[in-house]
Amino acid sequence: MTTRIGVVTFPGTLDDQDALRAVRIAGAEPVSLWHRDKDLHQVDAVVLAGGFSYGDYLRAGAISRFSPVMEPLIEQAKAGMPVLGICNGFQILTEAHLLPGAMLRNNHLHFICRDQKLRVENAGTAWTSDYSAGQEIQVPLKNMDGRYTADEHTLDELEAEGRVAFRYLDGNPNGSLRDIAGITNAAGNIVGLMPHPEHAVEPLIGTGRTDGLGFFTSIIKKLVNA
């Protein structure tokens, strides 16, 4: 049986095609999901891709979070279905309270677009098992609202439980508290990060490396062995 991984397209999503492509290159069957879908078409996992859904109106992710497709997604994610939120997808996951904290405007107020070095802090999530803890990877980063924020208590809890999944290296690009680039829920099935692993899955494009492919091979292994 092929592993089916869905990628949701909202109005204003940009990186759905690259995410679908990354899924295919990793060896799973990519399934396009539409924001108005009321069910998830029996996919085994979902990627919320990057972009500017609903023009980032109100707050990034705030309107998408109430799209019809989010209803079954939230329910199934809470029941253990793996979900990866990249960039705008991460913002949607925080707005939906599937992950704690919130994303704010970059502290320097500029859009940022560069190759970003990260440290994988938690290789135990559904999306990171093909990495090793402490491994350094490089993937593109491109956003306006990438400053991760949460109250001190939440930050301490995330640190204590090993739920800071990725940290920025070689300089904090946006003022994210404690250099946080991505986090996971306690169960490890829901992961969100601002940088873009789906843009770094082939040597010919992006960073010229395939450091992002591990997200997609990790989830396939997890689902096949489930």
């Binding site: 109100l58 707050r59 705030a62 109430f66 925080t94 707005e95 704690p100 904290g101 919130a102 704010l104 405007r105 970059n106 502290n107 320097h108 107020l109 400053r147 924020t149 949460a150 109250d151 003022g175």
Partner: protein, 83 residues
């Protein structure tokens, strides 16, 4: 129709670089004496029917779940005079 205004502001402990940028621009434009600026959002809701306790409770719920993200923002709800 009655108007209800929802003001949304970043919580005091949250850094507001947009407000800071505005504040820094003021002296250059000849506006002195402003020590701090914080930028927020104002929503003007034209309410159909009476603004009674039930309507206000719904608007509070709307503000709490949608208009504001209470992880980072505070909000106030004010009823403006009938026009």
């Amino acid at each position: 129709m009655a108007r209800v205004v929802v003001d949304v502001m970043l919580k005091p402990e949250i850094l507001d670089p947009q407000g800071q940028a505005v504040q820094r621009a003021l002296p250059r434009l000849g506006f002195e004496g402003i020590a701090d600026v914080r930028q927020g959002k104002r929503f003007e809701l034209e309410v159909e029917g009476p603004v009674d306790d039930a309507a206000l409770a719904r608007i509070n719920e709307m503000a709490e779940t949608f208009l504001a993200n209470t992880v980072i923002e505070d909000f106030t709800v004010k009823v403006e005079e009938e026009k």
